[in-house]
Each structure stands twice: as C-alpha cells, then as structure tokens.
Point group: C3
Chain length 353, copies 3
C-alpha cells in the first residue's frame, strides 16, 4: 500500500489547530513521542511527558496551548484538546472500521418469538432466545447469547461471546466487549437448617444508553428489583458489579475494580483500577477512589479517597510518612536520653558536692 | 398485567411470621426500604439499617424478633430469619423461572460417544465432546463447551458460554455461571536449558455436589492429581483458583479473590472480596479473611485475618492507629524537650549560683 | 485398567537421576508428599517442605542434590532439577493428551476468504471471519471467534471460547486459554463538549511466539500502534493488559494482576498475583513486583518492589515494623518521663535545700 503524506497545514486543518513552525513538513503515519520516526505525527497530551519531545524523532507534534516550547526543526500544531485533536488525526490513518453486514448469519440461532429490528447484524453461532427484542442497527457478535425476554436497544455493539441472561434490559448505543456477562445471579446465601441455602436472585439488570462494558466484566442481576448502570457509565475490563448495585451517570470504573452488593455509586464518580467498594455504601457524586483502595464507609460528593481502608489523601500521606516520622522521633528520643544521662551525672555531682 | 394485592395476614402466612400492627394493610410489590413505595413490602435483615425504617415509605416490613419498634401506620411481620422470609415473599412476586425444555437443541453439537441422561437440556451451539457424560435433568446452556471424558452430574445448571476442559468431574446440583472456565492449565513453568519450559498440567478438576461457581471464574486443573472444590463451596464472580488447590466444604470465596497453587482451604472458610492466598498455605476450618487481604502464612481454624500481609484484627487496628500514636508520641516528646530545656536553665542557674 | 508398576531404577532412568536407597522399590502412581500412599512416587522441589518427607507415606521420592537425607525404608532419586524430573515421571502416568483431529468441524463457520493451513483443527461452532489466516498445525477450539484480518501462527493451541478481535497478530506456538479476549478496545475517554467522548481505539494487538495467555485474560488493542506481548511472555488467569502496553520477552504476569495503559514491562520481569502497574511506567528488565503491590513509579532493572505504593523490601519491612517501633518508642518515652519526674523532685529538693 502506497504511503500517503500530509503536510502540517493539512493536519492542522483536520485537527482544528494552528501551526507553529514549518507548515510544509510532511508526515505519513503517527506514533507516540517515544516510538515516532521523523515521518510520524505525534502528540503531547500531558505536560508531565514534555521531556519526551526533545528526545522524540517526530518532527510534527500536536500540543496544547499551555505548551510554550520552541524547538529547532520541530513543528507544533497547537490545539485546545491535544488528545481529541490527535484522535482526529488517527482517524485519517486508521484502517476502515469493521463492517458488520446487516443480516442474520445463517449459523445464528434466533427464536421465532424474537423481534429483530432493521439493519441488525447477528453473527454466526449467536443464540437469541425466546421473546428477545433487538433494536435497529445493533450488532450482536458471533457466539453471543441473549436470554429469554431480554432486550437490546438501537445501535448497540455487542462483541462476540458476550452472555446476557434472561429479562435484562440494555439501552441504546451500548457497547459490550467480549466475554462480559450480564445478569448472572447475585451472590446470596443464608445459613439454613440443612446448611447453606441459596437466596434466589429474581431481579434483573438494566443497562442504560451509552454505557460501555469492558471485556470479561460481570454484572450480577438483583436479588429483586434491578442492578442499574445509568446513562454513560463506562466500565473497563474485568469489573465486577454485584447484585442491586446502582452506578450513576457517566461514572467510570477502571480495570478489575469491584463493587459489592447494594452499593450506590453517584454520578461522575471515578473508581480506579483494582479498588473495591464494600456493600451498601453510598459513594457521592464526583467522588474519586484511588487505585487498589478498599472503601469501607460512605464517601461524600467530590471527596477523594485512597488506601485500604480508604481515607483522605492527607491521612494517607501521613500514614505513608510513618516510618520517616518514627525515625525522627527515635532521633529526638536519643537526644533526650543523652541529655538526661548528662543531667544524671551533673545532678549526682551537685548532690555529692 | 393486573396488580395482585396481598394483605399483611397473607404475607405472614407465606413467610411464617406473625403480624404486629394492621393485618389488613395491602401490598402489591416489594422493594428495599430505601426504594419502596407505600404499596411495597420491604424488610430489615440487619439492625444496622434500622434507621431506614423511619424514612421508608413502605407500610409493611418484615423484621426479626430483635427489632422491637412500634411505628405509627407501619405494620411489621416478625420472623425468625427476615432474609429467608423475604425470599419467600419474593418468590410470590417473581416472574416464573426460565424453563429449559428437556431436549438437545438441533444446533447443539453432541459427540456420538457422549452419554446424555434423561430430561437434559442442551442449548444451541453448545459443544459436547467425545465420551462426555451428562446426568439426568441437567441444563447445559447455549455456547458451552464440555471437553473429552468430562462428566457433569444430575440437576446441574451450566449457564451459557461456560468452558469445561477434558477429564473434569462435576457433581450433582452444581451451578456454573456464564464465562467460567473449568480445567484450564495450571500456571507452571521452570527455567530450562533453552529458556522457560512449560510444566505439563496433566491433572484434573473435581467439583463436588452443590457447588456454585460465579461468572468468569477460572479453576485450573492440577499439575497432577486434582484441584478440588468440595461439597457446597460457593464462588462469587471472577474468583481464580490455581492448580492443586483444595477448597473445603461450604467455604465461600467472594468476588475477585484468588487462591494460589496447592493452597488448602478448610471447611466453612470465608475469603472476602479481592483477597489473595499465597501458594501452599493451610487455611484452617472456619477461618475468615477480610476483603483485599493478602495472606502469606498459614491460618489457624477459626482465626480472622486482615490486611496485607494479613495479621490479626488487633494487630491490624494497632497498625491503623500508627499515625495517631505517632502524633501522640510527638507531643509527649515536645513536652519532654520543653521540660529538659527548663532543667538545663535551672541546672545552669544552680551551677552558677 | 490394570496398574503398571515401575521400580526406582526404572524411574531413575526416565528422570535422569541416580538412586539412593533400594532401587527395587516399586510405585504405580504419583502424588504430592502429603497425599502420597506407599505406592506413589513423590518429590521435593523446595527444601522448605523437607519436613513433609518424614510424614509422607511415599517410599520413593525425587529430590535435588542439596537434599542430603537418609531415611530408613525410603528411597531417593537424586536429580539436578527435581521439578522437571518429576514432570518426566508425570508424563509416564499421564493420560494420553487430547487429540484434535486435523479437520474443520462441519459446525464451524469459516469465511471463504480465510486461509487455513495444513493439519489445522477448527472446533465446532468456532467462527473464523473474513481474511483470517491460521498457520499449519494450529488448533482453534470450539466456540472461538477470530475477527477480520487477524492471523494465528503455526502450532498454536487456542482453547474453546476465546475471542480474538479484528487485525490482531498471533505468533507461533502460542497457547491461549478459554475465555481470554484479545483485541478488546482500550479504555479511552475524554471530556468532550456534550459529555464523555469515546477515543477510538484503532490500533491492534501483537502476540509473539511462545506466549501463553491464561483463562479469562483481556488484552486490549492499542489506541493506535500496537499492544505487544513479546516472545515467551506467560500470563496466568485473569490478567488485564491495557492499551499500548508492551511486555518484554519471557516476563511472567501472575493471576489477576493488571497493567495500565502504555506501561512498558521489560524482559524477564515477574509481576506477582493481584499486583497493579500504573500507566506509562517503565518496569526494568528482571524486576520483580510482589503480590498485591501497587506500582506508581518506574522500577529499575533487577529491582524488587513490594507494597502499595510499592517500595523496596527494606522500606517495606521498616513500614511493617512501625507498630513494634512505636511500642518501643513509647516505652522509652515512659522511661524518660519517669526519670524527668524524679529530676523534678530532686531539683526542687536541691532548690529548697
């Protein structure tokens, strides 16, 4: 495939930025600052990595308005949001997206009672059970299972090998990555007369519009009522959502975090990777939980929490500083002990004098 | 669908409780205390949430004998186990459970050598390999794979897209949720002459009666011998069981916890969410490991462990209190330093006098 | 099946070891020291467990040269690497490995444009999409999905229900366990004018030769460019690899660990179970990260890191010792306070005298 070249001026037009340097410099690909060759467009989205600009071989770099460097031989395209601007450049070089023909593959298995909208793709070996509804323009990947009486909205993209159990409700424009499981039983058991008794989980899961669910996530159905992911929630890979959890609009749950039963996560919350939220907690709107933290009490709106058990960043920093503090205290105690030894001898001199 | 109403007297009869208040109050649904409307039955299983009764709109609430409240306009149904009692009420309102017709779907693929019991459901695109045995009344969901020479007992419920590798043995009444993998290779490698050498994992997995395995769990086969989940073990979602692990009867492993190779977990153990157990350890009967803990030494029967590395709750609380203790010590040192300064001046006065 | 017996001499020949004790003792099976019966061969790979030899019922035990015990009635086979030697003995007793007939199952779905090599097995209900290439002698398990334009090398073993998205490149002799997902979208979102905007993930995943990927892992495709697992990388179960991560040759990532976006893991690195590596970090060659650690800054080659946030073992041990240190300091302060009280009274005596 022949390479296609773009000038800095052309890239500036595509990305909505302004050229700072030689507008005629040409690129034919894109890469991160570290990996770029001279003919790659690159970008700086986080000033933390500004040092990489100097060592980068890239000659054309998208940056934000707060980056005020002038570097010989390098051309910059200054944009409001370098990350989004770079995405527009990526789109120029990206291979065409996968096309899903709007048909049901002959090797898919669709129940007669299912209602499939217009322009829907159903992949080979997907299984659509009784009374399922799939909205217009949705894609159901190969090997997916959609259980009885569940519904999938319009323009959804359900990647291969997703499992959706019975009576779940999926909104519009929802993306679910491979291996995710929606509607598995909540984990509920009681000590009964003859041992452990399973508490039947007869509720369901509601996934609202514009949600994205990562690979190999598991979203348990409610014991009764609904487990809910509200509009725009984004789940990274391997996130575990227990029964009766509610996650508020546009909250982001990063890789391998887990939310225990009946917890309520507010709107715009960020729960970082590998963090855990205990059951029945309230996590206020806009709260942030640091990676690997273990939250065991409610969090107020906007609060940042870190550590296990999670505490404020100030408390966490104090805890981190403990060994250093102990060393300092130890030194002060040694000084005191020395002084006191000296006093003892002075006192005994005085007494003996 | 027309709403069906039940009186408090009727609910008391269903749940085996006794009415305390107006027995003629009527409900037509059920919800948690927080979400209930006046026509919803609700319940209080944990006195910790008793405060929610006052703010709840529910007029009919199941509680335990230890709840002695009397609240105007609210009726209570007093039960031995409010949680189990509420489950009975849920069953009244629950939609009918999914019916799995006792047939092999024409799009399933079953080897001629497989022995399929009576009244077995095998879903579309499930693949049953050579010499597999499936017991009577079991359900094998759509898209499942069961490998050569494996067996599944009676009345099992294997949800869609479960993978069971060769030579695994699954008992009776076992429930396996979607995406779970049984019998994947244990993680075994050795430094060999030409780099890393894979240690073949030729053992198998034995899942005994009444076990439940959550969505997207992975249970590795033994290097040799068996990885064993004994009778009644319950695994939440995304639990990782490494090779040669043995989990004792009725132990519960909560979401995203992981058990490293050859660890032995006793009977009735609870390992909370995101905890990890190192390899070759013994976890005694009835031990409890707190969420997110990292256990690196044996645990005695009945012991509770918390933190990473896991220690006793007393030790853990002492560790938690370190910053506060350090502040207190620091204050006492300041006091000592002040006193000693004063002594110094007094001593010098005495010496100079 | 009739039992077949082997003498110690025969086992020594198979394992390349030398007999120490009675070479005519016979075994007909194998087991760990703890579980062995008298007719089981056993082994000691780690001197830590040498105590188990005394209590073991096994009469024939493979050990290393550093084990110098002589125990009545027990025979030892001394080997350079007892672990690998035992693997050779296991192979003698192991059931024959699963045979995958070199054919495409009639219930598999293979696009006409796909190029399938010689002696390839494609299982029932596997779906091979447009323009996929599968190399000679590879096995594609039942229910797998391989997306458009992806390629799988020679002699690969892709277990059932694996999902590989479009344009991924898999090398030779790669093993991928069930439920793993390769090429899911990276987790990339930006605050946009109308809320959260998805950053398209148009890159791909490259899995090089001799990689092994555990059950239910997820390897995200790059935002642009490639997420790369280099030659010989081994992933345990449920490992999460975010977009644009690069993992160096022969590194091992143990169960449930997670690597955030754009992190670079060197060669021969070991990241233990449940650990997490933050985004954009460099983890030097041969570094080791302890289980459950949270790494938030670069790691030098060969460095060992432990804890959250991860620090050196020395720092970590100092942190662990904090409660004890605090108790010791507290005692020294009490002593000082006592002495100072005595001084106060002595001083006042002196002043009053």
């Amino acid at each position: 495939m022949e390479k296609k070249y773009y000038t800095a001026f052309e890239i500036a037009k595509i990305t909505g930025g302004s050229v700072f340097g030689d507008g005629n410099v040409k690129i034919c690909g894109l890469a991160s600052l570290k990996e770029a060759c001279p003919e790659d467009l690159s970008f700086l989205a986080n000033k933390k990595y500004a040092g990489q600009i100097l060592s980068s071989k890239s000659l054309l770099i998208i940056t934000g308005k707060d980056f005020a460097g002038k570097i010989a031989e390098k051309t910059f395209i200054i944009c409001d949001n370098p990350n989004l601007a770079f995405s527009k450049a990526i789109a120029v070089f990206a291979p065409p997206p996968v096309k899903y023909p709007p048909v049901t593959h002959p090797a898919a298995v669709v129940a007669d009672s299912a209602k499939i909208g217009a322009n829907v793709h159903i992949g080979a070996c997907a299984v659509i059970d009784e009374n399922v509804v799939v909205g217009d323009s949705s894609v159901i990947g190969a090997g997916c299972y959609i259980g009885q009486n569940s519904s999938v909205g319009k323009s959804c993209l359900i990647y291969p090998n997703v499992s959706i159990r019975e009576r779940c409700v999926i909104g519009d424009r929802v993306i679910i990555h491979s291996g995710a499981v929606i509607g598995s039983d909540g984990f509920g058991f009681e000590a009964g007369p003859g041992g452990i008794v399973k508490i039947e989980q007869v509720g369901t899961v509601e996934i609202r519009d514009d949600v994205e669910i990562g690979a190999n996530c598991a979203i348990d159905r409610a014991r009764f009522g609904k487990t809910i992911l509200k509009k725009g929630v984004k789940l990274d890979n391997m996130v575990h959502i227990a029964h009766n959890v509610v996650v508020g609009e546009y909250s982001m749950l990063i890789g391998q975090c887990g939310i225990a039963g009946s917890a309520e996560i507010g709107r715009g919350v960020i729960i970082a990777a590998q963090a855990g939220i205990s059951g029945h907690l309230n996590i206020g709107d806009g709260a942030k939980v640091a990676g690997a933290s273990g939250v065991i009490k409610d969090i107020y709106p906007g609060q940042v929490m870190v550590g296990t058990p999670a505490e404020s960043p100030r408390e966490f920093m104090e805890r981190l500083a403990a060994p250093k503090k102990i060393r300092q205290l130890s030194e002060r105690i040694v000084e005191l002990e020395d002084k006191i030894s000296r006093f003892e001898s002075e006192l005994s001199k005085i007494k003996n004098s």
